[in-house]
Symmetry: C2
Subunit: 316 residues, 2 copies
């Protein structure tokens, strides 16, 4: 399948190495600290055997998967023959710039240089790098070996073929890709999390509800559906006429809560311009009753799973 270079052997680098090796790639890993690199191998053994215990990989495959991952002593050896580079350095613009310059100087032409950064848009460090057309962010959610979603964020200079190559590779690695059309601070995942947290802190800070009870609103409430259905599809199924009718019925109510920063976000125009057609293609309004039944069956299967996977009261 080819070889992938993973730069940085911390938890994120380790998670990526497991993902790539599971998909059949050889993985070369590098860290400026050789101790960190040694620890990574031990830690990945644990991860991979845990995954086998939970049937996420076949137990018989575990040694082979681990065997695909090698620590290399230099950037040159790590990048030699690599078809894709995943960089997991510290969250600092100057460091990213330095690392990326080095990677760009050493890597074969047109090999994507993807950063795992959760907060730094790649344009902030790659503008003056000669290979900026192959730089982008491919942001996993922690822990990367377990959470399938990854965000792919091009800079204004990233070549479309580089975005496609990164996306195709992620799909081969059984990741769920979220492709951003342009950079925005926080990308999508952390902006959604931030919006929820902002309102959570608002409610707890005003003394309306305890943090413990607030958590139940998600883990015994909204989070159940959201573990198998996104928030947009959720509202599409929450009105007999689909998302357009949901917005017609409830947009004003939500607006009156005074939550959003941006008064210019007009749900009605957005739904009329694009969403109504997009969702009609995905789940036509005529099929909503069937989709609701299906959703409730998935909810029941999840509740059965939760009852069997007995909760530990210390952390739930």
């Amino acid at each position: 399948m080819g070889k992938i270079a993973v730069i940085g052997c911390g938890l994120i680098g380790q998670g990526w190495a497991s993902v790539f090796a599971q998909a059949g790639y050889d993985v070369a890993m590098y860290d400026t600290s050789s101790q960190a690199a040694d620890r990574a191998i031990v830690s990945m053994q644990t991860r991979i055997s845990d995954m086998a215990e939970f049937d996420l990989i076949a137990a018989a495959d575990a040694p082979m998967i681990l065997n695909r991952i090698k620590i290399r002593p230099s950037i040159e050896q790590t990048l030699d023959g690599a078809v894709y580079i995943q960089e997991n350095g510290p969250e600092c613009v100057d460091t990213k710039k330095k690392i990326t310059e080095t990677l760009d100087a050493v890597a074969d032409e047109n090999v994507p240089i993807a950063s795992s950064t959760s907060g730094i848009s790649a344009s902030r460090y790659c503008e003056n790098i000669s290979g900026r057309h192959r730089c982008l962010v491919v942001h996993p959610i922690n822990p990367p070996h377990l959470i399938p979603a990854v965000e792919i964020v091009p800079t204004p200079w990233t070549a479309p073929e580089i975005v496609s190559a990164a996306k195709d590779l992620m799909i081969r690695c059984r990741r769920e890709t979220i492709v951003l059309k342009e950079e925005i601070d926080g990308f999508v995942v952390n902006r959604l999390q931030g919006a929820l947290l902002e309102e959570a802190f608002n409610l707890v800070g005003k003394g309306i509800v305890s943090a413990e009870d607030l958590d139940k609103a998600i883990c015994d409430g909204l989070g159940l559906r959201w573990s198998f259905m996104g928030p947009m599809q959720t509202i599409h199924l929450n009105a007999p006429g689909g998302i357009a009718q949901y917005v017609e019925r409830y947009a004003k109510m939500y607006r009156d809560f005074g939550i959003g920063a941006n008064d210019a976000t007009d749900w009605t125009s957005i739904v009329n311009d694009t969403l109504q057609d997009e969702f009609e293609n995905k789940t036509p309004v005529a099929e909503i009753p069937d989709a609701q039944l299906h959703r409730d069956r998935k909810l029941m299967a999840l509740l059965r799973h939760k009852a069997q996977d007995a909760p530990d009261p210390s952390i739930i």
Copy 2:
């Protein structure tokens, strides 16, 4: 165990009737339309047999549970001997006021009159009702027979004993209670959902991401953890030093996204004033590594469940 009155035989009333009957209560249901009441019985048969199919109730118990639910022809007969009333009328202040006046006139003294309303604070219709001390909102999440979370929202006049009685009853019915200390538009659940949706519409409306990809950020990303752990406990485990350290590291980043409406929400003060102690009691910082391992095991168990509960591409 006693008898509970359910007013209104629509989907919410039906869901409640299943919840109460499962917990062992006799349930008397009333609807102004006798046709709606008849349809409710048929619909509840399906619900209860679906739940048995998914092991959420024992198949042998299903007929007994259904048998506890009776349609009554008048408010008087429905309320006779009831220890708790759950009202599921239309979402209209005037209608709520009328219904609640009638219930208050007929019901035994100090029996809680709880409304399922998702949007109307009870103070908006009960101020001039003589039994306003026993009126409150007990808001389920649809479908009520499957989602455990319920919000309990007192008015300024609701007696503390009424709140306690409603909470105790909900706990006996194996509901997860979110108790609000005061009324706020949208309560907690819909405000959290609204905050997430507002940012979702913002991102999709600006063309940053498609709705389909945005949905993946939740159902293949954040929503996995949130199905068994709330957003506050999630961030407590996302920094080695717990929630206080998480806020120290990331509050400014989230603030810079410009998401929240309320610039006065100061995460740092809130965490220092209350959350740090609350979470130290719940999951001491020293136990965070163990709690992280436990979280990852729950995540793996969920991924195995999702892989087995094969997704239907038409709705996911």
